[in-house]
């Protein structure tokens, strides 16, 4: 049996493929959930960090620091294994979604804070002078300008989080990686793992390239 037949056995690949697809579905669902909630959380934290009273600002700063200092897997395991002792019991999916959202929230907050801070102060003043309130000024004047600077680094954060969905396999969630390792054990052959790696590549490589492209083309000061 040559290497190709072991590592890319077409027969096993065909049998494993539907199993892997189910895992891919979970992976994508988890990724999208984490990105949506993580981004919203990040925006909230960024706003608190910039505009809330001092104690809240410090809390938000501490939160982002802690989340960026802890390994994602540790956060996930704390949520999955430790929280139940406090009576909070999440399913694997929920636990993973919460963990990834919390982490992405911290990274997003940093990115958004920088984006909002880069909007010149005169823009706030002009909006206030016209009688626009804080929320409207944010919504119509500041955030639309910040977003161009935020998109490239946030895209790169999202790529990281999609990669981190693979950690959910550790808390027994049937994501792409978990399905692949299970299938590898079932067929006693590494083909499912190799196929899973290719699926990850097929999704993430374009995203990595896109991130680089965005950095080149969008991350400049606003100008027309």
């Amino acid at each position: 049996m040559n290497a190709l037949e072991i590592f890319f056995n077409p027969d096993i690949a065909a049998r494993a493929f539907p199993i892997l697809l189910r895992g891919l579905g979970m992976t994508l669902l988890l990724g999208v959930t984490a990105i949506v909630f993580g981004t919203l959380l990040g925006l909230a934290i960024a706003l608190v960090r910039l505009f809330a009273p001092l104690p809240f600002r410090l809390l938000a700063a501490g939160y982002t620091d802690v989340m960026r200092a802890l390994p994602v897997l540790v956060v996930l395991i704390l949520i999955y294994y430790a929280l139940p002792f406090a009576g909070i019991v999440f399913s694997s999916f929920t636990a993973a979604a919460v963990a990834l959202s919390l982490v992405l929230g911290a990274y997003s907050a940093e990115v958004m804070r920088a984006g909002i801070q880069s909007v010149p102060h005169g823009q706030f003043e002009a909006a206030s002078s016209l009688g626009l309130g804080f929320v409207r000024s944010m919504q119509k004047v500041v955030l639309p300008q910040a977003i161009r600077l935020v998109i490239p680094p946030q895209a790169s954060n999202c790529v990281s989080i999609i990669k981190d969905t693979s950690l959910a396999s550790v808390v027994a969630m049937s994501d792409l990686l978990k399905q692949a390792t299970d299938a590898q054990a079932l067929f006693a052959n590494p083909t499912p793992l190799m196929v899973a790696a290719l699926i990850y590549l097929a999704i993430l490589w374009p995203l990595v390239r896109l991130t680089g492209w965005l950095e080149h083309h969008l991350q400049r000061a606003y100008q027309r």
């Binding site: 999955y80 294994y81 139940p84 002792f85 009576g87 019991v89 808390v171 027994a172 299970d182 054990a185 006693a188």
Partner: protein, 241 residues
């Protein structure tokens, strides 16, 4: 009544095992299903990693845990157990050509066990006596057996019934030796659970009316010996002995 929440290690045939369709089957699965039925409800079984079972029970996240769990004094400090229904023994799983046929053969070898399992504790207690080189602890049986095949470890120690069953499927592995430990397998429940007494009573009934011995025969392939745990009703255990 609410369904009975049961946690199980999903890859531990013949005790419990997740089938392709996602349903659970196995000796202990039959037992908890019957207990649930006699309580007037159904069992809702969730698969978890071995370590997570203890957390789930300690945190009151589930009502029962099945996974060929041995009653130990340590576990009794933070958990409760029903009466035992099986006398377990440890098996030493090795490669067919390894030449290891006894516990003494493990001297200087690298051994694998499942993290926080009874065999892990057993090996830790008998380390000097056996003289093995290292004990690697795994999160899943599958990973452990894969590493045995790969040659990363020389032997594994686990419940002998499970090992025999697994080696029926995997090529090149066998049980090289059996260690009689007199360990008692039972259902684990949260400490002081209000369902404990009821569950224990039902198991006594099942032993008396022959339900449990029949399940035993179905999964183990032989009828239980007279006077063995599978046919003898007992009270809720308060110590390992």
């Amino acid at each position: 009544a609410d369904p009975l929440k049961v946690a199980a290690y999903p890859a531990n045939p013949p005790w419990e095992n997740k089938t392709e369709s996602g349903a659970f089957e196995g000796f202990e699965v039959d037992i908890v299903n019957e207990i649930a039925k006699r309580m007037g409800t159904t069992a809702d079984i969730e698969g978890m990693d071995f370590k997570a079972l203890f957390v789930a029970s300690a945190a009151g996240r589930v009502d029962m845990v099945i996974s060929s769990l041995t009653i130990t004094d340590e576990r009794l400090q933070s958990q409760s157990f029903t009466q035992p229904y099986f006398e377990g023994a440890l098996g030493v799983g090795v490669k067919e050509d390894s030449g290891i046929t006894s516990l003494e053969g493990l001297k200087g070898k690298v051994i694998g066990t499942v993290a926080t399992s009874f065999p892990e504790k057993y090996l830790a207690e008998h380390k000097d006596q056996i003289g093995f080189a290292e004990n690697k602890s795994y999160d899943t049986t599958a990973n452990m057996l894969t590493d045995l095949q790969n040659g990363r470890i020389d032997a594994v120690v686990n419940d002998v019934v499970g090992l025999r069953y697994a080696f029926g499927q995997m090529k090149g592995l066998k049980v090289g030796a059996e260690i009689v430990t007199g360990e008692k397998f039972a259902i684990m429940m949260p400490k002081g659970s209000d369902k404990l007494q009821k569950a224990n009573d039902i198991i006594s009934e099942m032993k008396k009316d022959g339900t449990l011995p029949k399940m035993y025969e179905k999964w183990m392939g032989v009828a239980p010996a007279p006077g063995s745990f599978a046919v003898t009703p007992m009270p809720v255990p308060t110590s390992a002995n």
